[in-house]
Symmetry: D2
Subunit: 309 residues, 4 copies
């Protein structure tokens, strides 16, 4: 069993309590809260199995319970953090990761469908609007099993052609706690790591592999069943065992005995996953539009968003 199987830096930090080289900061913002984790040195990175950099996590209640105004407010908060992570000028390439035919892995693809694409419009629009547009393009390449190509290789082709100042990669994540499904949105300037995401990317999308900064936006949409069983066992054993270490080892060995091969690949997901992914894609696409097009009004964004053919 994979040791942690969470893509959330925050969940890993919580496991460790305080750790040298890690700074955290929490804020309540109306109905939402924001947690910032800064991993500052390689030793902390090694222990947390997460690269050095910034991880900004927003928490919300279930998106279906948010009013239109609250969704809009949440998108505005995310946009505020995004702006800090992005270079101020240059075109942006948005990459929707995951497999669009598997609902729990389709978030990235859905976001690219709703974001305002402007790169091809710069020559055809009226000068009045043209000067206020940031060039944005998007790609949803599909997963390795569907294309036969590493995602990184397809994206690199586009990066070489477009020469954006940054890439924004959107992906579905796995978490360790069911309560995080659909309620946690993580931004990071460390890109996408190998092995992360629902679809388990074989190779990463990072500044090293693509040559430009990569901002990643992710939302947990599944928990692996194996993780839940293992955690249940760990709680149970806390009654019986003396130290945390021996408890964890016992839980691992029990979990291995109990879990069939099948179960490890099964995922836990809410039944209304289709609706949940739709709501999150809408919020994230709006936050991208706000962050990337600060000089357009909402009305202008709406009108341009529908020029889809």
């Amino acid at each position: 069993m994979q040791q942690y199987r969470t893509d959330l830096a925050m969940e890993r930090v919580n496991d460790f309590g305080s750790l040298s080289g890690v700074r955290t900061e929490n804020a309540t913002l109306g109905a939402f809260s924001r947690n910032i984790v800064q991993i500052e040195n390689e030793e902390a990175a090694r222990q947390l199995q997460k690269p050095c950099g910034q991880y900004i996590t927003f928490h919300t209640q279930q998106p279906k319970l948010l009013s239109s105004e609250e969704k809009s407010e949440l998108a505005g908060l995310i946009a505020g953090s995004l702006r800090h992570l992005l270079p101020p000028h240059g075109e942006i390439l948005i990459v929707g990761l995951g497999n669009r035919r598997i609902t729990s892995d389709a978030l990235g693809s859905r976001v690219t469908e709703s974001v305002l694409i402007t790169r091809h419009l710069k020559d055809v629009l009226a000068p009045a609007i043209q000067g206020r547009l940031r060039g944005v393009c998007a790609l949803s390449p599909g997963v390795l099993g569907v294309t036969g190509m590493e995602t990184k290789d397809i994206v690199r082709g586009a990066v070489d052609h477009v020469k954006p100042s940054a890439v924004i990669a959107v992906d579905a994540l796995s978490a360790r706690e069911c309560a995080r499904i659909g309620t946690t949105i993580q931004l990071t300037d460390t890109g996408i790591q190998p092995g992360s995401g629902v679809g388990n990317h074989r190779e990463g999308l990072t500044k090293e592999t693509l040559g430009v900064p990569v901002i990643a936006i992710g939302v947990p949409l599944v928990v692996y069943t194996a993780v839940i069983v293992r955690d249940a066992l760990s709680i149970l054993l806390s009654d019986m065992e003396d130290t945390q270490d021996s408890r964890e080892a016992a839980a691992d060995s029990l979990a291995q005995r109990i879990l069939s091969a099948d179960l490890g690949e099964m995922v836990v997901t809410p039944r209304e996953i289709d609706e949940l992914v739709a709501a999150l894609a809408q919020i994230i696409a709006l936050s991208l539009n706000i962050a990337l097009q600060p000089r357009l009004s909402r009305q202008e964004i709406t009108m341009l968003t529908h020029e889809t053919l």
Copy 2:
């Protein structure tokens, strides 16, 4: 926690070992196997929490690994059992249960979309084909939360109007073991019970509520997360406790402590659920067409199936 949370009679029988008033029969049929459970008296029914009647269960490997020929063969086997459960004459009403917008609950609805509907064609077809057609109609009413009406009440309206000789109800089930998801197809002449199915029907569809025999076809498509955790705990405790009874009680109480309210409603499902439901709907619709239209050739079935408007 609901005691068992499996809709499969066979899983319940397996828990009990031999039980008076229950007859079972197993057969291997090429690449598939078939298990028949006959619950013969009220005492057995009470213990198993399943009404008296016949439960026929087919087992297959994952549908995506079946060739077209094997799918066709499996459909033929199911059709053979269906024919024994159905009255020989009269029109048939097929009811697709569940919520079509939630993939793991959409099997019933998908089957009604692919089955050959003939009731409205009887007057318009050439006499040569007309005399060989059994009248079939179908309804996919949607769940209580979507319609505001009990499924049973909508179906009863259609039964009163059509006066079929039997109803066939198709539904997604929950199982206790992940290995059963998509690999087990259960037929029964006892109809649909209250509280069963992924969508947890509040009221049943049975001969008592509808006035005509109700044959149910179901396939497990989810396992409740709570069930998996509880079963893991039970295995674990088998090392420590003396008797089965005390073990089960301890597992229940531990599970209750560990499981958050959230988790109880989370479901375990394969990631490729969309594809799985499509394959199963195709197999079941074909088995219905074979069972209900024995006097039509495959070519005739194909041509008529596409007259959908």
Copy 3:
């Protein structure tokens, strides 16, 4: 060729100029306009081939060009007219007509998916909210070719059980002019007539067939190709022929010669039909929620709308 093949009363009235027994009224309402046609006697009804009653038509620009605020405003206007047509008390049954698997015919089905369903909640909600809820239920029965049953017969079963004070039927219509596709919303207190709608209902849904008032809401989503060709020929012939009557006859006979059987069933539709239907379904569902639940706040409507299972 069907004589008119438009479901819009307003298009028929326009063909006739002034007609005794028909009153019309036009209003501009911000960015929208509203046209009311009142057919007051049988002679006018016969000439227009539309039953006596009220037809209220709203006009908008393409829905994709509307901002969220404008959509909300349009929904409010439609709700205002709906309230006048509906009985003040009693439960309401909403019927989504058409075939959900054919996008241009799926409007009715999509609306029922987004409307607030309350009938089953009346017993479970807190008294504070319960007293302010109007009971609403919904059914999307599917078309004759998919169910084998006349829509009217399925709906009548539900009406007999629920005993609503009125039925609201939502359907996709055909128009004569392409410019009306997606831009015209017609309300009428005359119900659904036989032969109308994209799916061409064989039997109507009216006060006569269902026993309660039937309010119909429809939006043109296709124009039959045959209609376009015929109208083009009619314009052309206006150069050459003396009288309108001989011109129309000549156009009919030419159209018949030119049109293959195929073409008559082909429909003209915008390429972005999927997106158009989604936007319209959202507007109409919102207008229904406003009209039917005047004592709920928007926030309460949102929260209740998502209780879909």
Copy 4:
């Protein structure tokens, strides 16, 4: 109005009767027929507005009327022609063109979802099967309005990385006659031309732009409404005018007068377009699998096709 607005070489050849530099050949193959057009010199290419090369067109009745065996037979025939057009060795990149969110433009994308992708499997499979596999990868990049990048530029990035021996591009086409919708499948070794396809590609995919041979597979799925009206007028005028040339000019000028701007962009399409695209995608994907993997059995193809993640 665009002069011809058909993507079918065969329809253009039919307009001209015999033309020097064009060879045609017809064959009946069971229930299907095949037409081969060879454009041999630049003069013929200019007149037909189609580049020099081979155009192979298969004709079938409506796909929904074909049995499984007939679909399989048709796929085998297409595969036979494909094999002649493809280089015997080297990896193949399949490109699904068009906008997957617009059903009539989604054929290319759907085909890539069903084709056997093998490039990434070559290292992980058993040697027994590995040696018999041709490397195949696929990309469905999305249209300019959705990505902000020319399709050609995204594909070129993938070609540079993969270095395939050929590209196969699959696209939805427009035709001039409604009867061709879904019943005509065109193969050509001339690639995709600028301005062709339902989505009207701004730049082409050809050996010149990509550096490797490009085989295009296309199926007409729409007819532009403007084309139908113009053709109707042309037939009408044939009664009145003396010469073909003056007749065509009169039809053009009349059409221009009659057609609103709207209408020119409206498309004619069958109502069951969703079902039609699904059936065609299945046939074409099967023909690609047969042509590209001649050393695999059907059973092996099925099993590998489902390894989608």
